[in-house]
């Protein structure tokens, strides 16, 4: 800001069109739709989120790419759209989770964190000199109030809960595929298989443990809940984790 009042940065770049649309958000959604496909499926005993890890060249070291990210021990997110925008949102989400922990001594529930992220994304549609984030997110987490929950957040900042959803390039086909195969009592194992089959539908190239990333939310057992914190550490047992390459390979082989 060159001047005290903001100057050329004081007005929002996202303004209404005569038809009532926010054109910048439409364009942001276009950026999302051209991104690699991601999906999430909520099972009766957990959630699976997965994405393609498509590199533009074989020379890229894709072991360093992190598309499924942990926010706090009970929540993870995946995206479709612009990678750099995702990185920023992950950093802000992690900070928000820690700020919550600092006040309440526990990590936020999935819904609360999703609201925080959605607010951050909305601010970029109504603030001076910024553009909307070019990503849609799938937020998966577990908390004791609502159990496992899966939310999608769009560049506009709107969010809603899904039982199963897909975002990105192949979302229409993927969602049709999921609609056929989803039922409310699906187990986590079946959900992981279904996720892999859905990804395979629109996959360009060879699907291996190196070209996809999978994150999983598991529901704590009775014993875990009774124990509360892990013995001696005072920390809660994480409910979200990324599958290792070996585990992904095993699932692909089945």
């Amino acid at each position: 800001m060159a001047t005290a009042d903001g100057g050329a940065y004081s007005y929002s770049l996202t303004v209404f069109s005569p038809s009532g649309k926010l054109v910048q958000i439409e364009h942001a959604l276009a950026a999302v739709s051209s991104g690699t496909t991601s999906l999430g499926i909520k099972a009766s005993n957990g959630i699976v989120i997965a994405t393609e890890k498509k590199s533009s060249s074989i020379l890229i070291d894709d072991s360093m790419i992190d598309k499924v990210s942990v926010i706090c021990p009970n929540i993870g997110i995946v995206y479709s759209g612009m990678g750099p925008d995702f990185r920023i949102l992950v950093a802000k989400a992690r900070k928000s989770a820690q700020a919550y922990w600092k006040i309440y001594g526990e990590y936020p529930s999935t819904r609360i964190l999703t609201q925080e992220i959605a607010n951050i994304m909305q601010q970029a549609t109504q603030s001076g000199g910024v553009r909307p984030y070019g990503v849609s997110l799938l937020v998966a987490g577990w908390d004791i109030t609502r159990g496992p929950s899966l939310y999608q957040v769009d560049p506009s900042g709107s969010f809603w809960a899904w039982k199963a959803s897909a975002i990105g390039k192949n979302m229409v086909n993927a969602k049709t595929f999921l609609e056929k195969r989803y039922n409310d009592d699906i187990s986590l194992e079946d959900a992981i298989h279904t996720a892999l089959l859905t990804l395979k539908e629109g996959f360009e190239g060879h699907m291996t443990e190196k070209t996809i990333e999978i994150g999983v939310v598991t529901v704590p057992s009775e014993a875990d809940l009774a124990a509360g914190k892990i013995e001696g550490t005072g920390r809660v047992k994480p409910t979200f984790r990324k599958l290792t390459e070996e585990e992904v390979r095993d699932y692909l082989a089945m």
Binding site: I103, G105, I112, T145
Partner: protein
Amino acid sequence: MSIMEYNGGSVIAMVGKDCVAIASDLRLGNQALGISSNFQKIFPMTNRIFLGLPGLATDVTTLKETFRYRVNMFTIKEEREIEPETFAHLVSSTLYERRFGPWFIEPVMAGLQKTHDGGYKPYIAATDLIGCLNFAKDFVVAGTASTKLFGVAEGLWEPDLEPEDLFETISQTLLNAVDRDAYSGWGAEVYVLTKDKVIKRTLKGRMD
């Protein structure tokens, strides 16, 4: 003279079998001059959490409103009631926000915490004026008669007291401790919390 002793007053909370009790005196003074024998220091935060605020009276009133605001915002945003353990951390961080210009209060909390299998567990906690948490398993005390409260409570408390027995124990502890303190007393009230109800009783004590 310390600011914590300006108005006087004491609070105690105790754990029983599937119940908790929290009790306070009712005195408000201006140093040695007693002003009111009806000054409430214990406030309900939710149906299952009670907060006792002994210390400077103006801060008692301000903090009770501050916590009411924060708990209401929590309830509305999270669409659920706050649990005692979460509330204790909220109290701690609220006090630490004023680390270098603190509220002159040493809060005492009592409540029933939901367990994962749908039952309720008794929960008490206290903090110092800058938010250091104390998660005692038996009893917590604060206020001008705190040293006396420690003594009597240590002698009278035993684990797994039924609600009626817990009431007797906490009442005797409070009454006898405040009788040894010039700045506490002038009446007392006791809240006993069980999973279905809260019983508030006003005690007849020495009015000197």
